[in-house]
Symmetry: C2
Subunit: 243 residues, 2 copies
DNA sequence: CTCCGCCTGAATGTATACATTACCGCCCCC
DNA sequence: GGGGGCGGTAATGTATACATTCAGGCGGAG
């Protein structure tokens, strides 16, 4: 019937472009010209255009007036709004899950994730940060995919994959680690409270906790902006990791 | 440099497909085969695929596993969630606008829109419904595009253009008009209160009003489901109009 | 000197032929 | 009788040539 191989030309172009955009090789506002890109990747313009179209769907590119694609540019204000939006959507997902009920097995999975997250606080600082970020992402994924709302999960997915900057290029340095460490304890406490609220079917409380959780990320971002040297690249991704 | 004409093949395919999907000619789950569609439209597969890709971006189509596109199918639960989501996003937009401040000129425009909306209540019933729906849409557009959050406006736009069904195919009948009429007065009162709250920079109040506004739509949808004959087509669009 | 118009180049839009692959039914073997 | 492999077929993936259109420069005329 039809191919679904992921090692096709479109897939390769998709990965290459996404990597370059997230890696900062292609700054926001850059126009992507089909011919040179296709020649460089040794593919034809057809799968390249398909890949660009999918990246537009993801929100990494935007269509230029008159045709063609631009790398989407984000401002600090956009990042702040995205954090706000994420808090609102996660809050809604948590509230709906609480109101509509969640199977005990799913809640048990999330509690297990929280146990593992606790383990990060005993280990060495740098290593713990890496582990924490990964497990934290897993927890939020689980929260997003709680049963109760496909539609909201979809929007949340879009918001979480917004192409702010390269996560790896902006990992927090040691000083940032120290500054944010205390916030991690608070964040973890919020994680626990969130699961408890959903478990107790207290929707309003679950929503409030998720929002406060996002406010923590917002505060960390503000701190990062204040303490970074003026003109230094801000890490939007960092704010979304340390939440 | 590049063409920007909108009467190109892709544009025609886009309009044709969107019309058929929203018109219910292509029910949810229908697979769109490129070759027959392209032949019927007398265009080649290339612009047709581009059009389908854009429709996937809009949320009207989804990519099938193994390639190709399906018309996205929505359940009643999806519509309920979409109403919920819309209330949440409009609430957030209203809150942020209130917190961050809105130029008086913009508020004046919205107040003028409200004045016009009031006019619908004096006229004949059927005519007023049509006018009300249009003006109501304009009001919500204005709300969406209040300064303060591009990111949230974007998500809101996606939510509002979700392809539930043909609006025209499901316009409420006379009985529905009567049943919903009283809710319009309440809705209009909420519109006024919303603008006042934003004007007074009371963010929390603005958000609460927007949410309650969505709850009204939800209640109308529930009523519609209960009173319609079982098996009769439900109008998701109606619920989004009469809010 | 200025302005209008053509002309050329560069970029995307489109058509079409060909390649690839997933699905489905058939057949063989167990 | 059932399951697994195998091929045909239909649909999408890809390449390439050509069409279209816009922008900008260049030249000629007023």
């Amino acid at each position: 019937m039809a191919p679904r191989a992921k090692d096709n030309q479109e897939g390769r172009a998709l990965l290459t472009l996404r990597e370059r955009i997230l890696g900062g090789v292609l700054p926001g506002g850059t126009r992507l010209f089909e011919v040179p890109l296709a020649e460089e990747m040794r593919i034809s313009r057809t799968p390249l255009r398909a890949a660009m179209s999918r990246l537009a769907e993801e929100g990494l590119l935007e269509r230029a007036r008159g045709g063609g694609f631009l790398v989407r540019a984000f401002t600090v204000a956009d990042v702040i709004d995205a954090i706000e939006l994420r808090g609102v959507l996660e809050g809604t997902a948590a509230r709906l899950a609480a109101e509509r009920g969640v199977p005990e097995a799913r809640l048990a999975e999330m509690r297990a994730l929280l146990e593992t997250l606790e383990g990060c606080f005993g280990a060495g600082r740098a290593v713990a940060f890496e582990r924490y970020a990964g497990l934290n992402g897993a927890f939020h994924d689980a929260l997003q995919h709680l049963p109760g709302s496909e539609i909201i999960a979809r929007e949340l997915q879009r918001t979480k994959t917004l192409p702010f900057a390269s996560p790896s290029a902006f990992l927090p340095d040691e000083a940032a680690h120290a500054a944010f460490e205390h916030s991690l304890f608070y964040a973890q406490a919020q994680h626990r409270a969130l699961v408890e609220a959903i478990s107790a079917r207290e929707g309003a409380r679950a929503e409030a906790i998720a929002r406060e959780h996002a406010r923590l990320a917002r505060r960390n971002l503000d701190h990062l902006i204040r303490t970074k040297a003026p003109g230094a690249p801000i890490s939007p991704a960092l704010a979304l990791v340390i939440d």
